[in-house]
C-alpha cells in the first residue's frame, strides 16, 4: 500500500528509457523553436535562458505554445510517462486508467517574474485524480515546486471558507509550504487537493517540466469535461467483459421491444 497521507510522494521511475526519449524529443523541439543547438540534453534544457536570451514574456509564451503543440502532436506523452511509472500509477488507480490527452510543458527560466502562484487543481480536476509532475532536469531549491501537505491544505481552506481572506490565506500557504527537490528520472505525484506552486526561480538553471493527470475510469470526474480532457489509456479484461454484457443487454431489450411493437 502506498503511504500517501501527505497527499504527495516522490517516486523513482521503473524505466528511464521513455523519459530519456521524451527529454531528447523536447530538446529537438527547443533547438527548433529557440533556434540553437547543443548535443547534451541537460545543457540544452538547463541553459536554455543562455541559448535564448532577451526574450520578453510574450515572445517566450508564443514559443512555448508552439512547442507544446508540436510536442503533443508528435508523441504520446501520457503513454510514455505511464510506461516509466507504470507500477506506482497502477497501484494508485488500478488497471482501468484514463490519461490526460495533452501534456503541459512548463519552462521556468531564472528570475522569470511569473511563477505559478499557489493553488490546488480540484475541483476543476477530480480529487480522485493524481498529478504527475515530471521534471526533465534535476530540480532543487527555488528551481523546484513547493507543496503543502494534505492536512495543512485542508486547514487553510477551512480558514479561507470562514474568513474569506485570500491575502492571508496565500501568505500562510506560502510560509507553510516546502520545496520538494525532484531529479530527472523521478516524479512528484500529488493529489489535486494539495496546494502547490512555484516561486521565482533564483537558481542559475532553467526548469523544464511536464505535468499530466491520470484517473481511474469510473472515479468521479472534476468540473472539466472528461471526454474532452482525458482518453482511455488502459482497460482490464474484466472491464471489457462487464461492459460487453451491459451493451448486449441493452441491444437485446431494444430488439425485444421492437418485435413487440411490430
Amino acid at each position: 500500500m502506498i503511504d500517501f497521507k501527505k497527499g504527495y510522494i516522490i517516486k523513482k521511475c521503473d524505466n528511464i528509457e521513455p523519459l530519456k526519449e521524451i527529454q531528447n524529443y523536447l530538446c529537438k523541439l527547443l533547438h527548433k523553436h529557440f533556434d540553437f543547438y547543443h548535443d547534451d540534453p541537460f545543457t540544452s534544457l538547463n541553459q536554455l535562458h543562455k541559448f535564448a536570451p532577451n526574450l520578453n514574456a510574450t515572445q517566450l509564451n508564443e514559443k512555448r505554445v508552439g512547442l507544446i503543440e508540436d510536442f503533443n502532436n508528435e508523441i504520446d506523452c501520457s503513454e510514455m510517462i505511464f510506461s516509466a511509472f507504470e507500477t506506482i500509477i497502477t497501484q494508485f488507480l488500478g488497471p482501468d486508467i484514463l490519461a490526460q490527452k495533452k501534456s503541459n510543458v512548463v519552462i521556468q527560466m531564472p528570475n522569470d517574474p511569473n511563477p505559478s502562484e499557489i493553488h490546488r487543481d480540484a475541483p476543476s480536476h477530480s480529487p480522485y485524480e493524481i498529478v504527475l509532475w515530471v521534471p526533465m532536469v534535476d530540480c532543487f531549491k527555488t528551481k523546484a515546486m513547493h507543496v503543502l501537505d494534505h492536512q495543512k491544505s485542508n486547514v487553510l481552506y477551512d480558514f479561507l471558507a470562514k474568513n474569506d481572506d485570500w491575502a492571508n490565506f496565500e501568505k500562510e500557504a506560502t510560509a507553510q509550504s516546502e520545496y520538494v527537490p525532484v531529479n530527472f528520472g523521478e516524479a512528484l505525484i500529488f493529489s489535486t487537493t494539495v496546494l502547490h506552486g512555484s516561486h521565482i526561480n533564483k537558481e542559475n538553471e532553467t526548469r523544464v517540466s511536464l505535468n499530466l493527470r491520470y484517473k481511474n475510469i469510473f472515479s468521479p470526474s472534476g468540473l472539466k469535461n472528461q471526454l474532452q480532457y482525458f482518453k482511455v489509456l488502459k482497460t482490464s479484461d474484466l472491464l471489457k467483459i462487464g461492459s460487453e454484457l451491459q451493451f448486449k443487454k441493452i441491444d437485446y431489450n431494444l430488439q425485444k421491444n421492437k418485435k413487440e411493437i411490430d
Binding site: 475541483p123 471526454l227 482497460t235 472491464l239 451493451f247 431489450n253 431494444l254
Partner: protein, 135 residues
C-alpha cells in the same frame, strides 16, 4: 461530400450561434456539411424521442451531429438505446464539443466503455462537488 443533420443542445446555456459554429466545423472536419437543422420543438431534450423518426424521414443523410454527448446524459441513464438505433439505420453520430465520432455499430461497441464512464463519473461528481468545494 457527406450530409449531416444538426442537433443543438437546448438545455445548455451556451449561445446557439456558438453551438452552430462548432457543429458546422465538425461537419467540415468529417468531409461534409449540414443539410438539416433540427428545430427545438422536434425533440424533448431529456430523451429526444422524436429525433430517430426525424432522421429516418430525412433523405440522403450520412450522419447526425450533436453539440455535446451531454444530450445523451440528461435522463435517468445514459441513452445507449438512441445511439444504437441511430447507428442501426446506418448513420454516423458525432459530438462537436467533445470532437468524438461514432462511425458504426462496431465503433459504438469500442467507445461504449468511454461513454458510460463519462456518464457515471459526471453523475458522481454532481453529488459532491457543489456541496463541498463551493462553501
Amino acid at each position: 461530400m457527406n450530409s449531416y443533420y444538426s442537433c443543438l443542445d437546448t438545455l445548455l446555456i451556451a449561445p446557439q450561434a456558438e453551438q452552430h459554429d462548432l457543429i458546422k466545423r465538425m461537419a467540415y472536419n468529417n468531409n461534409g456539411k449540414i443539410v438539416f437543422y433540427g428545430a427545438e420543438e422536434y425533440f424533448v431534450a431529456r430523451s429526444q424521442p422524436f429525433i430517430l423518426n426525424k432522421l429516418k424521414r430525412t433523405p440522403n443523410l450520412n450522419g447526425v451531429i450533436f453539440f455535446t454527448i451531454d444530450q445523451f446524459c440528461y435522463g435517468e441513464k445514459f441513452n445507449t438505446e438512441l445511439m444504437l438505433n441511430i447507428v442501426k439505420i446506418g448513420l454516423s453520430i458525432h459530438f462537436a464539443r467533445e470532437n468524438i465520432s461514432v462511425l458504426n455499430l462496431k465503433d459504438l461497441k469500442i467507445k461504449y466503455v468511454e461513454f458510460i464512464s463519462y456518464y457515471h463519473c459526471k453523475k458522481s461528481e454532481q453529488n459532491f462537488v457543489n456541496e463541498y468545494y463551493f462553501l
